[in-house]
């Protein structure tokens, strides 16, 4: 058993490692150890990301706004459907196995079908990304609402709490951690869905820039676009994390706040 490392080590080592990798990368390209056609140096990527910011901005905004719209739509819809399924036992028993099985299917493969259905436009991108990110939120909401301690529910019903009171004051607060982890998965899947359908519709957004740069072999533009995608992804995920903290603090719950849980792996 190795002993736990100190806090400084856990923060400084990854940072130093990251800087080391970037420097090595830069150096390797400077000395032509790697073909510059296949890997842009970090400095070149940053240079392009800054210098072509004006050109990239509309695409950055498109990807961000489409992701946000998708996230809002699918989280509202997912939480509502999850709540409905919790209350309506028969529908739950009919639909739940299908949803779980649906989760195992490679839904990404449906992207071209949405283009056939809705055409090359925002609607097709939003509906595909929503379709991808919706079901995990439904499942998480359902699991959260059903995870209430049965003893607490028994106590409430013996205190003659109305069903509405039980829902708002007991079940929902108990469900918050699971719902929020569903929302984290949903956010990552929303941006994934938006980018995949930008690959397929090739109209605008950072996914379009990535496909374009790769077919023109503009490797520095490709890396600049990947950098922006990462920044957007991290910022949106961070927003959901912040939201989670705020809600948990508001509820007075202990903030467990793991950044990442193994169950919520997404492409």
């Amino acid at each position: 058993m190795l002993k736990r490392s100190s806090r400084a080590q856990r923060i400084l080592l990854p940072l130093a490692n990251c800087c080391g990798i970037l420097l090595l990368w830069e150096y390797a390209i400077l000395h032509n150890w790697i073909n510059p056609l296949s890997l842009a140096s970090p400095s070149a990527a940053v240079k392009v990301a800054v210098s072509s910011f004006g050109v990239l901005l509309p695409h950055i905004l498109a990807t961000t706004s489409e992701t946000l719209m998708t996230f809002v739509l699918s989280s509202v819809g997912g939480i509502l459907l999850g709540t409905l399924l919790m209350h309506w036992r028969m529908a739950r028993r009919a639909v739940y196995p299908s949803i779980v099985m649906f989760q195992l299917l490679p839904k990404i493969a449906l992207a071209p079908l949405f283009v056939v259905w809705f055409g090359v436009n925002v609607v097709s991108r939003l509906s595909f990304a929503g379709f991808i990110s919706f079901f995990p939120i439904v499942l998480a909401t359902l699991a959260g609402l059903r995870a209430t301690d049965p003893l607490v529910l028994k106590l409430c019903s013996s205190l003659r709490a109305s069903p509405a009171q039980m829902f708002w004051q007991v079940r929902l607060p108990y469900a918050v951690p699971l719902i929020m982890s569903g929302l984290k998965v949903g956010m990552t899947l929303a941006i994934t869905g938006v980018i995949v359908s930008e690959f397929v519709t090739v109209q605008n957004g950072l996914g379009y820039i990535i496909v374009l740069a790769s077919s023109n072999m503009q490797i520095d533009l490709l890396f600049a676009a990947l950098g922006w995608v990462s920044v957007i992804g991290l910022a949106l995920y961070g927003t959901v994390l912040l939201l989670e903290r705020l809600i948990l603090m508001r509820l007075g719950a202990p903030v467990t706040g793991a950044l990442f849980q193994p169950g919520e792996v997404v492409p």
């Binding site: 190795l2 080592l13 493969a109 071209p112 079908l113 676009a225 992804g233 792996v265």
Partner: protein, 270 residues
């Protein structure tokens, strides 16, 4: 609960059995009925409203497409399947090897694991075209992309499994003079198998997604290529037929991994 506390139901095994069957039948009938209703609904809707076949081909039409293109679907499906299975094995070995390195050395683990977590939050799907630039348009780029997407769940699962090993067993090993490498290979790795299967299940779906998406971006064959071609020709029935093949295949790989999990659990825990 009440049936066990009060002796009312004890003397009636037939009645209990009937309720057992009914309960399970209800559990199966409702989901299957729901699916049948959905498919029948699509069929009726498509026929009555005369929806253009491009938008919503009736399920019977999809079946016909499946039968007509059986040989093409088999050929492309087999290519994709071979790549998915290869990707799953590669990401199993990569994930387990990384987890072993991280377990053996705290410093390396501290250096790299935060980077992997951050990489996990970034939409890695955006990297698909990059693999085309690196590895060309063939199977290698699909394999590379699929492994890049899917090794992470195995890495986390393996680390969780290694850490779960009972402290007593680890202490016994070190008391018997085993090196940490021996402890890892002979004690921790077998004990981590149940966790590994959990990771492998997640990974399976990601491997399929990776290979199919790689084929979307660049390919000359494979199910992903077939879907893109059919979409370009607006042959919706063919897209859906390809999806049926893909789904059946995905479920069978998942089933195989689950069967392996059950076998291992039985052998380990009786």
């Amino acid at each position: 609960m009440s049936a066990e506390t009060f002796p009312t139901g004890v003397g009636l095994p037939a009645a209990r059995e009937a309720s057992f069957i009914r309960r399970h039948a209800e559990g199966a009938i409702l989901p299957i009925g729901f699916m049948v209703i959905c498919i029948a609904g699509a069929e009726i809707l498509a026929r009555i409203l005369a929806v253009p076949e491009v938008l919503l081909p009736p399920p019977s039409r999809v079946l016909t497409a499946l039968a007509l293109n059986a040989s093409a679907l088999c050929y492309h499906g087999a290519l994709t399947i071979a790549q998915v299975v290869a990707a799953l094995f590669i990401s199993l070995s990569v994930g387990i090897a990384l987890a072993m390195v991280f377990t053996l050395s705290r410093v390396i683990s501290d250096m790299f694991s935060p980077l992997f977590v951050v990489l996990q939050i970034i939409p890695k799907i955006a990297l698909a075209p990059l693999f085309v630039v690196w590895l060309g348009t063939g199977a290698w780029s699909h394999l590379g992309f699929a492994v890049c997407l899917s090794f992470f769940p195995i890495l986390t699962a393996a680390r969780a499994g290694f850490e779960e090993t009972s402290a007593d067993a680890a202490r016994l090993c070190s008391a018997l003079g085993a090196t940490s490498w021996q402890t890892l290979v002979h004690v921790k790795l077998p004990m981590a198998l149940p966790q590994l299967f959990v990771g492998a299940k997640v990974s399976t779906t990601l491997c399929i997604i990776g290979v199919v998406l790689g084929e979307f971006v660049s390919a000359r064959a494979g199910i992903g290529w077939y879907i893109v071609q059919a979409a370009a020709l607006s042959q919706t029935a063919n897209i859906l037929a390809a999806l049926v093949v893909l789904s059946l295949f995905g479920l069978s790989v998942y089933g195989a991994v689950s069967a392996g999990e059950i076998l291992v659990r039985r052998r380990m825990f009786g």
